[in-house]
Structure formats: C-alpha cells, structure tokens
C-alpha cells in the first residue's frame, strides 16, 4: 500500500522529451510504473518509449486518466508547469527539477495550498517509490529497495537511496521510500509525511533523515511527541559540518534559534525518536524496533 501512490497510479511526465525526462521515463517504465502520457509544449504528436506526447496537460487529460505528474521541465519553467498541473486538476505532483528560483517556489506553494486537493513533493527531490509497485523519479533501482514495513522520509536525495539500500542488504524491506527535497521551500514537509505514515497500515517503523538548517525536524518532532504512535528512527547529516553561513538578521528572527544540530537532536530526543549518530546505526536501530 504505502502512501500517496500505488501500483494502479496513472502517471504523466511533464518535460518528457528533455534528456532527463527521456532517461527517467525509460527507467520508470522498466520498473513497472504505469506512465500513460507525456507533455512537452510544441512536441505534441511525438512519442517517447511508445508513450504519447501532448502539448498541454489538459490535452493529455482528454485522452487519459491521470493521478500524478512527475515534473522534469527546466528550472525556469517549473512554476508554470506546476500551475498547469494544478489547474488541470492533477492531484499529486513530483517535482524533480533542482535549482528552481526561490520566489517561484513560494508561488507554487501558495497555489498548491489554495487548491486544497493538490499535493506535491520537491522541488529538488529524487522521487518516491513503493518497492515492487511503483517508482516515480530517480529511485527506480530494483536492487536498492524491497517491499516491507519501514518508511524512509529524507531531505537528502543521495541518502534516501543509500539508507534504503543498507536496509535492503540486511533483509529489511520498505513500505515507501520518499524524498522531501533539498530546497528551503518544499511542497510536503516532514511533519506532513509523518502524519500520512501514521495512517498507513503497511508502515511499522519510520526513518526520518534530516539535515542541519531549516525547522522541519523540530516541527515533525512536535507532532510525534504529541500524537505519534509508531516508532521513529532519526538521523541528521552534518554533525561535523562547518556552521552554515547565516543569511541575515531578519532571517535569524524568523528562524528563532531553530535549525542548529543541537536543536534538532533535542527535538528528536524529546519526542522519543531513536537518534542514529551515523548512517551505520540506522539499520540496527530499525531492526530492534520492528
């Protein structure tokens, strides 16, 4: 089962004719993902790997049922592409593109909040995979993931796959493996992922992979402390990283002391999250909790 998507989800690829879009379409199809259509303005009528390409999302919807759109369009066009998906009535978006302008991310976020029935992950996200059912984005290597009951939610793209692979290597499967995105403004925050996983019958243990900076871990911890019922293992990358340069005083006020490693560890611990000090400790901690 997992969350947000399942093996029956019908998938659209926006930016399907670009280098990245083509390559990933091929790999997602190989994984078994049900891609039904692609969109690239001006390339309507072509096909990629046998998948029909349309000029607009609306046009694709005239010919296909679509549940989710994976978005690979170049950064300057992401805002437009996401808004197109929202207005067309798509329910879920996976925004893979990185280097999306900051103010565009704000605008996307606002449009998504306002639409109420649209959710997205990313930008700058590796994707989301329910092992052996569906892979959206870059997490489509069959050898890395295997079905099971551990959910992985990660701010870091590269660590998402690494931690899944480490669990798979010792025979622990995953209910869902998902990135949140490495940018400051993301569509789905850690706490929202945790809330969904709380309701997911397949998920027994949640692994949260955080990083220094931002306040997502603190926010998720607050929910876990008050309402969480499932065991959680937390990891924070960058324990030994040099302090990030601060952006400015106005920024510092908004963040109000959140974002440091100490603040995140404390938040995790107060919420009863098992904190792994290195990635090596994650599999053993998960194993004990299952």
């Amino acid at each position: 089962m997992g969350i947000l998507i399942d093996s029956k989800s019908k998938v659209l690829v926006q930016g399907v004719t670009g280098r990245l879009g083509r390559k990933q379409t091929e790999l997602m199809l190989e994984y078994g993902t049900d891609i039904v259509a692609g969109v690239t303005p001006g390339k309507g009528g072509e096909d990629v790997q046998g998948i029909p390409v349309y000029d607009t999302v609306n046009e694709a919807l005239e010919h296909h049922d679509i549940d989710v759109s994976t978005i690979y369009v170049p950064a300057p066009y992401v805002e437009d592409a996401v808004n197109e998906a929202i207005e067309a009535g798509i329910k879920f978006g996976v925004v893979i593109t990185d280097w999306v302008p900051y103010q565009d991310e704000m605008k996307i976020k606002k449009s998504a909040e306002e639409s109420e029935n649209f959710r997205y992950i990313g930008p700058n996200v590796p994707g989301i995979t329910i092992p052996n059912e569906i892979a959206l984005g870059m997490l489509s290597s069959p050898s890395v993931m295997t079905p099971g009951n551990v959910a992985i939610v990660s701010r870091s793209g590269s660590l998402t796959g690494e931690i899944a692979e480490e669990l798979t290597e010792i025979g622990i499967g995953q209910s869902v493996v998902m990135g949140l995105g490495g940018d400051p403004i993301v569509g789905t925050r850690m706490v929202e992922a945790v809330k969904m996983l709380e309701k997911d019958d397949e998920t027994e243990v949640i692994v949260l992979v955080g990083e220094i900076g931002g306040s997502m871990e603190e926010e998720a911890s607050e929910f876990i402390r008050e309402k969480g019922t499932k065991p959680v293992v937390g990891f924070l990358a960058g324990r030994t990283a040099p302090r990030q340069k601060k952006m400015g005083h106005a920024g510092a006020i908004v963040r109000g002391g959140k974002g440091t490693l100490e603040s995140k560890i404390k938040a995790f611990e107060n919420a009863g999250v098992e904190v792994a000090e290195t990635i090596w400790e994650i599999p053993e901690k998960v194993e004990r909790l299952l």
Binding site: L20, K23, Q24, L27, A75, P76, D98, P101, Y102, Q103, E105, M106, K107, K110, S111, P126, M138, L139, S140, S141, P142, S143, V144, S154, R155, S156, G157, S158, L159, G161, E162, E165, E166, G182, P184, I185, E211, G214, S215, E219, F235, A237, G238, R239, T240, A241, P242, M247, G248, H249, A250, G251, A252, I253, V254, R255, E277, T278, I279, W280
Partner: protein, 385 residues
C-alpha cells in the same frame, strides 16, 4: 549572493528609494573628487559583504581632507571581517532625527515573504526583537500578488507613524518590496532607514541577498557570484558549480549529493579521523563535472601534504558510469604527480555498479561497493601515511 552596500543603493536609486549622495572611492586620489561632490564632513564605508562593519572599524566619519586621505589609505587593502577591502563608499553625512528599520525576507517555513518593520533601527533587528518587541510589526503577503500599497500603509500606521513620515515610510516600504520582487531577492533590508532633521527619509544602508537559483534572470550579477569567496579552491568550486568546502583535516571527502557527503564526513569523524574537504558534486555525473570535482581534491592534496587520502562515494541512480570513469581518469592523469590514494565507493543501480567495476579494473583507484569498507580503507591510509 550578498550584494555590496553600494550595489544595493544603486538598485534603491533605480527604484526611487531615497539614498544619500555618494561616490565610490577606489584610490586615495579619488578623495578630492568625493569632497567636491559631498563636502565635509563625510562618511567613509568599507564595502565588504558582511554585517557589523561599524564595530569592526569599517565605517569612519571624517572632517578634513587630510583625515579623509589617511582613512582611505588605511582602509583600502586592509582586511575587514575576513574580506579584503578594495572599494570604499563615501557619503554625505546625514543629519539624523531618528532611525527606523524595514526589511523583507522569505520565510522558508511558511513559504511566503514576510515584511518586518520597526520604529527603531540602526542596531541588529534581532536585538530589537528581544528588547523592544512592541516596536516591531510584521505581516505576510501572498508571493503571487506582492505587497499592496494599502498593506504598506496599514503597517506604517501600526508603527504609530503620522503625517509626512507615515506617507513616505509606506512609500519606501512599497518600493523595497519591488526590489525584493524584481531582483528575486531572498532578503532586502534597509537598516537604518533614517529620518533626517528636516523630515526626509533616507536609506542609510542597504542589504540585499539575491537567490543564486535566480541569477539567470539577472546576468549582471551572475558573473559575480563567486567574487567574495576568499578561499581559492572554494571559489573555483563555486565557479564550476560544485559545492566545495575547505576544511582542516586529512581525508578529503566527495559524494554526488550533499547529504551523502556530510554523512561520509560524519563517519570518518566518528572513527577518530577528520575531513580535509567536503565536496558535493551537485547534479549529474557528467565527465566534466567529475573531472572538475576530483581535480579540486587532488589540488587540495597537492597543496597540503597532510591530506592522506581522498574518499569518494558515488551513488548511481540514472546515469551510467562511463562518463564518471572517464572524468576521474582524466583528472588523475593530469595530476599524476600528486601522491595520494583514492578510495572510491560505488553503490546504487546494480548494473551500473557492475559496469563501473569493469571499467575501473587495473586503475589505481581503490574500489569498494560497501561504505564501511571504503571508510575503513581511507582511514587506514590516513593512519599509515
């Protein structure tokens, strides 16, 4: 990227925010021109991308030409807040009645711009928030529509401003939002916003932080992105689009992903060793990117003999390994005199891992498919050498 004060003020002027009379000084010879334009006394301000310049001695008031020349001579070429000073801004001295604050900042958590204003300014807004929170007002605006003039008026009213000041403050704030919007800023701030004795509002300082992801829309600044990075390897990394951070230890660490590279650093630290450099290659495994990345670490090892090993972790997701291997081999060939062992861990998509193993057979690279073994090999090299 953070703009210098004078660049910010040029933008303010372009968008009609009142700024002091001013002129740039790059040489002691420029002093007479400045005095001609501004008169005496005047202010001299070192242009470095850092706060707290006043306390650090980077802002001076001068009364005579001789004094001006002395200060200019001393400040130029000096070091302030870790930056070399090569430009000064000279300005008319303002007749200050009071100092206020206005700033616009992107709030990551809520995903909206936040407008922050205060009837008190000139000191860190953090301090005001702590000591005089009642002097601060904030509102959020919809990023799609921006700040409306009536919203600017409402917040000015909340600060208790009246008459002419009310009107000109809301006007400045509205225009400051235009700066934020049209330059794709993450922060635009005037602190202090000075009210002069004759009732004029003037932006006495500027702070603008641009969004690196948006620089393609602002080509004038794109080329300048890396100019204030003082460490040469870090600057080169930034120019080449890879995320390099220079550190002090003995194992240089690199991965295709910031989280992964940080986790590797944490691992070698937990084994009692310390990282010499952090490198996140950023997007994609192209030949050029791989070559540039490894070359940076090889140059670090060339410069500092205390670097005993390079530890690389590459996760294959969608790109096959051919370009990566070619890039690595070129880098090693060009820097073949650098005697440092390279430990490479490859993981991810199985058929790419197998292919990488095949392609790297016979090379000098110490290859692993397990992170633990790779970390062990690198730390052993460090202990041995």
């Amino acid at each position: 990227m953070r703009l210098l004060e004078f660049e910010g003020k040029n933008i303010f002027q372009e968008l009609d925010i009142p700024v002091p009379e001013r002129i740039i000084i790059k040489d002691v010879k420029d002093v007479s021109k400045a005095i001609e334009k501004l008169g005496l006394p005047m202010v001299l301000k070192a242009q470095v991308p850092a706060g707290g310049r006043g306390k650090a001695g980077g802002i001076k008031f001068v009364e005579t030409e001789k004094e001006a020349e002395e200060v200019v001579g001393k400040l130029l070429e000096s070091e302030l807040k870790d930056h070399k000073v090569d430009i000064l801004l000279s300005e008319e001295q303002l007749n200050i009645e009071r100092e206020m604050y206005c700033g616009i900042v992107g709030d990551d958590e809520k995903g909206t711009p936040e407008i922050i204003v205060s009837s008190k300014g000139g000191v860190d807004i953090e301090n005001i928030a702590e000591k005089d929170p009642e002097k601060i007002e904030r509102i959020r605006v919809d990023p799609r529509f921006g700040l409306k003039p009536y919203q600017a008026r409402n917040i000015a009213k909340k600060l208790g401003l009246t008459k002419g000041t009310f009107k000109s403050f809301s006007d400045v704030l509205f225009k400051l939002y235009k700066v934020f919007e049209s330059y794709d800023a993450k922060l635009s701030e005037i602190n202090p916003l000075v009210e002069t004795k004759n009732g004029r509002l003037v932006a006495a300082d500027s702070k603008i932080v641009l969004d690196d992801h948006s620089l393609f829309r602002h080509p004038k600044f794109q080329k300048k992105k890396s100019r204030h990075i003082e460490n040469p390897l870090e600057r080169e990394g930034s120019e080449k689009g890879v995320n390099y951070v220079d550190l002090d230890g003995s194992i240089a660490v690199m991965a295709n992903g910031a989280g992964l590279a940080m986790a590797l650093m944490d691992l070698i630290s937990s084994e009692g060793h310390s990282p010499a450099a952090f490198l996140d290659t950023g997007g994609g495994l192209s030949e050029q990117r791989m070559k540039d990345s490894l070359t940076l670490l090889l140059r670090k090892a060339e410069k500092e003999t205390k670097v005993k090993a390079i530890l690389v972790n590459i996760r294959f997701m969608i790109s096959p390994p051919d370009a990566m291997v070619k890039g690595f081999m070129d880098a090693i060939e060009e820097k073949k005199d650098v005697d440092v062992p390279i430990v490479l861990v490859v993981r991810g998509r199985k058929r790419y891992v197998e292919k990488a193993k095949k392609l790297l057979k016979g090379s000098n690279i110490d290859l692993f498919t397990d992170v633990k073994e790779g970390v062990k090999a690198a730390t052993e090299q460090d202990s041995r050498r």
